[in-house]
């Protein structure tokens, strides 16, 4: 399994995984993650741009054997975000999405890709990495805790 930075050519193969991330989150919390139709279409150009942006972290896991065409089974997308100016921390790395195809789970791919993303953010020069998890996504919380992240803030929501 090769984990590497994504290229613009990878994006068409990443988009079906984006659709799965969206559907999964919507199943957990439709009020917070209710998507418009085909949300992955809106990611297309954004992901292509992220793959060319040296301050974004866009990684894919490719299960193809040498000589085979690419077979992407996981991706992670992160960007550098600015904090509001009252805080000591000026900017931080933010992991927006992570997906590992179901057949490839429990093989350590999630942990490897997060560890690599953290290292990429360190090289970019940010002092902190953050990400949001849905309240019901206990597997993700376990994974991120195993990767050295800690819970810092709980988001509370009321529907009106």
């Amino acid at each position: 399994m090769e984990i590497r930075p994504a290229t613009p050519e990878d994006v068409p193969d990443v988009l079906p995984m984006v659709a799965k991330v969206c559907a999964f989150h919507e199943s957990l919390d439709p009020a917070k993650y209710g998507f418009r139709a085909d949300p992955e279409r809106m990611y297309d150009r954004w992901l292509v741009n992220r793959s060319k942006d040296p301050r974004s972290v866009f990684l894919v896991a490719d299960a193809a054997r040498p000589g085979e065409p690419r077979r992407l089974v996981a991706f992670l997308i992160g960007t550098v975000e600015a904090e509001i100016p009252i805080y000591r921390l000026k900017e931080f790395g933010f992991i927006h999405d992570l997906w590992v195809e179901e057949k490839y789970r429990h093989e350590g791919i999630g942990r490897q890709i997060v560890t690599l993303a953290v290292e990429r953010f360190r090289q970019i020069g940010v002092k902190q990495v953050r990400l949001d998890t849905a309240w019901g996504n206990e597997a993700a919380r376990g994974l991120f805790a195993a990767c050295g992240l800690r819970p810092s803030v709980v988001e509370m929501l009321i529907e009106l």
Partner: protein
């Protein structure tokens, strides 16, 4: 006389500002990595919040007892990414209650008032944050009808440490 909760005005903002700053400092003590303040945070916060509160949907609510402000809540309306059906929601930016008034339901009343006002404006959701591990903060929000929706995780990076090592 009991506790009165009402929509704040420009004069209230002058009273509320130092109280909000006190709350920012409290949060900074709870989690320095997330909320650590710059030394000039007070000046920057005043600069930031003034223009922000000019938007009519960005609101200040105050709780008073015997004419004294004992709590305040500042909320703004934020837009979400266009991929979501709920494309805007209100966010509670700051909620402060005087230390000797805590545990009397003041924060819950402020949140309930904000929910009523934003519902009347047609806003479909309010989001607020509680520091992880601070059960009192969740309980206050839960009493006002909020539910947990997500958890933000963070990791501080030390550029001197080699790759792969946990902080």
């Amino acid at each position: 006389m009991g506790i009165i909760v009402r929509t704040g005005n420009a004069a209230d903002m002058q009273v509320a500002l130092p109280l909000m700053l006190e709350r920012l400092r409290e949060r900074s003590e709870i989690d320095r990595a997330f909320y650590g303040l710059r030394p000039d945070a007070a000046r920057l916060f005043r600069q930031w919040i003034g223009p922000v509160m000019e938007d009519p949907r960005h609101a200040l609510f105050v709780a008073e007892h015997d004419g004294q402000m004992i709590g305040c809540l500042a909320a703004i309306v934020e837009r979400d990414l266009p991929i979501f059906e709920v494309d805007e929601y209100a966010v509670v930016r700051l909620l402060w209650v005087a230390p000797d008034e805590r545990g009397r339901g003041v924060a819950t009343k402020l949140l309930e008032r904000a929910a009523r006002e934003y519902a009347a404006m047609g806003v479909r959701q309010i989001r607020a944050t509680a520091a992880a591990g601070r059960d009192v903060e969740y309980r206050v929000a839960e009493k006002a009808g909020f539910r947990p929706a997500g958890v933000t995780f963070l990791r501080e990076l030390d550029s001197r440490k080699p790759p792969g090592n946990k902080e």
